[in-house]
């Protein structure tokens, strides 16, 4: 057996049972010399050539699989938004409870006898900084949220996330309209739209999973 055939045999033996060789031994065999390296690469190509087939590819099925894989990313973001909205609500509640606790501890006599719990939270436009810009979200009872003097472009995105829809402001002036609005998350979206349309200055409709503000 000549030297080249000896190298090929060694390669073939190693390829049959690579688990009996250490990583270094494998590399030593493959990199024994330039000729052996070339032979290994030729075997890699021989293997690849056997994989070349003209089997028809089902592109439709692949596209569906891709869409399924791709969509969860969007849904995941959707869930993140919902989770963020809930965290936001919990944060609101927590802050409001803290505010109430602080108010009640200072003015305990004013809250005594009140069976209606009113929680008020001041946003970034706190009256301490910008009195005219005061807005508040009030949480009443277990789930009802009252937006008090809150711009529409802050109310609607939060609510829309909850219903898995988006908001389309076709009338930019409507963004800054401020409302006192009571939102019950258990309301169906159609009920919400109806309630919003009770405001004279507002025209809202649900189109293709969008709350469209005209």
């Amino acid at each position: 057996m000549d030297k080249n055939n000896g190298n090929i045999c060694q390669l073939l033996e190693m390829l049959d049972h690579p688990e009996t060789y250490s990583e270094q031994e494998i590399l030593d065999i493959i990199n024994h010399d330039e000729d052996t390296r070339e032979t290994y690469h030729l075997l890699v190509e021989a293997k690849r050539s056997s994989r070349q087939t003209d089997t028809p590819v089902d592109v439709d099925a692949a596209w569906k699989r891709f869409c399924q894989k791709h969509q969860p990313t969007q849904l995941r973001f959707g869930w993140l938004k919902i989770a963020a909205a809930f965290i936001g609500v919990i944060f609101f509640v927590g802050m409001a409870v803290a505010a109430i606790w602080s108010i009640t501890s200072s003015f305990s006599s004013t809250s005594e006898g009140n069976d209606h719990q009113l929680l008020t939270l001041f946003g970034n436009n706190s009256p301490h900084r910008r009195g005219a810009e005061r807005w508040a979200a009030e949480v009443v009872g277990d789930s009802t949220i009252v937006f008090d003097n809150v711009p529409l472009d802050q109310i609607l995105p939060q609510i829309a996330d909850f219903y898995h829809v988006t908001v389309d402001f076709r009338n930019n002036d409507a963004r800054q309209l401020r409302f006192y609005f009571v939102w019950k998350p258990e309301d169906k979206i159609e009920v919400l739209i109806k309630k919003l349309n009770h405001f004279e200055s507002l025209s809202v409709e649900l189109k293709d999973n969008k709350i469209v503000v005209e």
Partner: protein
């Protein structure tokens, strides 16, 4: 994010070629699909479509080579994948052409039982002992024939 209709058009136009390349390079259908989907996910997340379709094949090739690089040497040789991937950074068309030439050579120029032994070893991943058993041959003779076939292919492709 790339618009869905543009993405779908790109996908439908290029998927077959991309999946074939990934299968050839990785030898694993599931992993190949994973690579191609991965490339399209990256395309989907970008704001602009690739400059040309060739980019998609290069992306598949590079993703496959990255995966191979990350494997352990034992897994690389068990699946007959390259342990050095630099050599694979040639023009994709030329590489595929060479694979076609090798397949044609095996089919047309190797005689029996050399051709069957070669195809059982590299097409069906049988060990020499398994091939010998299947063909009712002596394992040493099987080794000899396979070695001769490899030498013959080497000589042919060295010359060309």
């Amino acid at each position: 994010m790339l618009e869905q209709p543009i993405l779908e058009q790109l996908f439908r136009r290029n998927y077959s070629e991309m999946i074939r390349l990934a299968r050839v390079l990785l030898g694993d259908d599931e992993e190949a699909e994973d690579v191609v989907q991965d490339v399209f996910l990256r395309v989907a997340d970008s704001n602009v479509a690739p400059k040309n379709d060739g980019y998609l094949l290069i992306a598949v090739r590079n993703t496959c080579l990255n995966r191979i690089r990350q494997m352990k040497v034992h897994d690389q040789v068990k699946r007959l994948l390259p342990v050095e991937t630099e050599i694979d950074l040639q023009h994709i068309d030329k590489q595929l052409e060479r694979l076609d030439d090798i397949a044609a050579f095996v089919e047309e120029r190797l005689e029996e039982p050399h051709r069957s032994i070669f195809l059982l070893r590299f097409g069906e991943d049988l060990t020499i002992a398994e091939i010998a058993r299947r063909l009712g041959m002596n394992p040493n003779t099987t080794y000899k024939y396979l070695t001769q076939s490899i030498q013959q292919i080497k000589n042919h492709f060295k010359r060309s």
